[in-house]
């Protein structure tokens, strides 16, 4: 297992959460890059990588709020492992199934962390931030899957014009 790419992913996650998150937010709706990367690793890498990357990402994300660190570690690692288990058992191939897995992961992470922080105005947060944030992340994930599967390529893009 090469460590460098995963270090870069971790740097990307912190870079996004500290700097890009505000810039990329649309009316306060934020992209969940952390879960997007976790799901991608769960889908395309081994379970060892999923476990350790989930654990590391949880620690790094939780460092900003130490009281939330165990929850972040638990939720993110469980998501990483669960995605890996689901993808290896069901053998996810179709685009829709990957998108569903991504959507469920983002939604679960957002809901659990929101409920841990506070249950006040949960439904408002659910409607105003969690669901649009999930949709935003799924949209970016969908683009990634389309590019990765070769359904969107530079040649095809050029052919349009």
């Amino acid at each position: 297992m090469r460590v460098l790419p995963y270090l870069l992913y971790l740097f990307l996650i912190t870079f996004h959460s500290i700097i890009l998150s505000d810039l990329m937010s649309i009316l306060g709706v934020r992209l969940n890059v952390l879960i997007l990367i976790i799901v991608l690793i769960g889908l395309f890498k081994s379970d060892t990588e999923a476990i350790w990357f989930g654990l590391s990402a949880g620690i790094i994300v939780g460092a900003a709020r130490l009281d939330l660190m165990p929850w972040e570690v638990l939720v993110i690692t469980v998501i990483a492992v669960a995605v890996k288990q689901v993808s290896s058992r069901i053998n996810l191939e179709s685009l829709a199934s990957k998108v569903v897995v991504l959507a469920c992961s983002v939604f679960l992470h957002e809901v659990i962390i929101t409920l841990i922080i506070s249950t006040e105005e949960f439904f408002f947060i659910l409607i105003r931030y969690i669901l649009p944030g999930t949709a935003y992340t799924v949209l970016i994930g969908l683009l990634f899957f389309l590019i990765k599967d070769g359904r969107i390529s530079r040649e095809k893009f050029k052919a349009l014009f």
Binding site: L10, F11, T14, F15, I18, I19, D47, T48, I51, W52, L55, I59, I60, G62, A63, A64, L66, D67, M69, P70, V73, L74, T77
Partner: protein, 266 residues
């Protein structure tokens, strides 16, 4: 060793899970040691560089914002300064005018020029629109002066505005006299010759630098208003008339504040 390697490779997944669970339990249970330790490492390696970067970006943004505000303030201050300078100049002109005594039975109504009607390129303006009219008791044919002398007369009056026919309008002629010799003539302006003093008796004595004032004849302009000084006199032998060119007292290129002379006798 072989035994250990075999167990490790066979149960690698189990070992990974077990290690991950142990770390998770350590993080959960030991909130005073392990959690701060890991948090500190994560903060110093991953968060700190980006936090510094973000604070630098925020600083730059603040500096840019401050810079923009300072530029706006500078522009506003420059505008205020120029308007203050303009006010100072206006104040100076008005102070100079304070010493001016209007002719008997007249009072001055200060007016501002709204626009100037030019005759052509490099020519004097021939008319001026002023910011007072019928609502301010301005009437047709009232004389208009500035601090240097006679400028013209009111030609048209509207409720809020009036137009002044300046001395430089060729259609405007003023009955005048030489201040020294008291001889009468007509001051008029033509684009070709400039301001001239006409209809002067052939034997009249006139020299360069003589002051020309309004005569009071004609009923429009009161007597004694400064109009011009004699710029040059040309006498040709055999001709009865003298050609006399005048230099207007008021600089028609730079007229700003004007004063309408309003008769106090109804």
């Amino acid at each position: 060793m072989t035994w250990f390697s075999t167990i490790f490779y066979r149960n690698r997944r189990l070992l990974n899970f077990s290690l991950a669970i142990i770390i998770f339990l350590l993080i959960t249970v030991s909130d005073g040691v392990v959690r701060p330790f890991l948090g500190n490492i994560a903060m110093s390696i991953f968060h700190y560089p980006f936090s510094e970067l973000k604070s630098s970006i925020d600083n730059l943004k603040n500096i840019a914002e401050d810079n923009r505000n300072l530029k706006n303030t500078l522009t506003e201050t420059s505008l205020q300064l120029s308007s203050l300078a303009e006010a100072r100049r206006e104040n100076h002109r008005l102070r100079e005018f304070l010493g001016f005594e209007p002719p008997e039975n007249f009072r001055v109504v200060p007016v501002k020029i709204v626009s100037l009607g030019l005759m052509g390129h490099n020519q004097y303006p021939i008319a001026a629109a002023i910011n007072k009219g019928l609502n301010d008791s301005i009437k047709i044919n009232q004389p208009v002066i500035n601090r240097f002398g006679l400028v013209g007369k009111v030609k048209e009056v509207m409720p809020e505005f009036s137009t002044v026919q300046l001395l430089t309008d060729p259609a405007n002629a003023v009955s005048a006299r030489i201040a020294e010799s008291r001889q009468f003539g007509i001051v008029r302006y033509s684009p070709e010759e400039g301001m001239i003093f006409d209809n002067l008796p052939a034997d009249a004595t006139i020299n360069k630098g003589d002051l020309i004032i309004s005569s009071g004849l004609g009923g429009v302009y009161p007597s004694g208003l400064t109009i011009a000084v004699v710029d040059s006199v040309l006498s040709i032998k055999g001709e009865i008339k003298k050609s006399i060119w005048l230099k207007p007292s008021a600089d028609f290129f730079e007229i700003e504040e004007l004063y309408v002379l309003e008769s106090v006798i109804e």
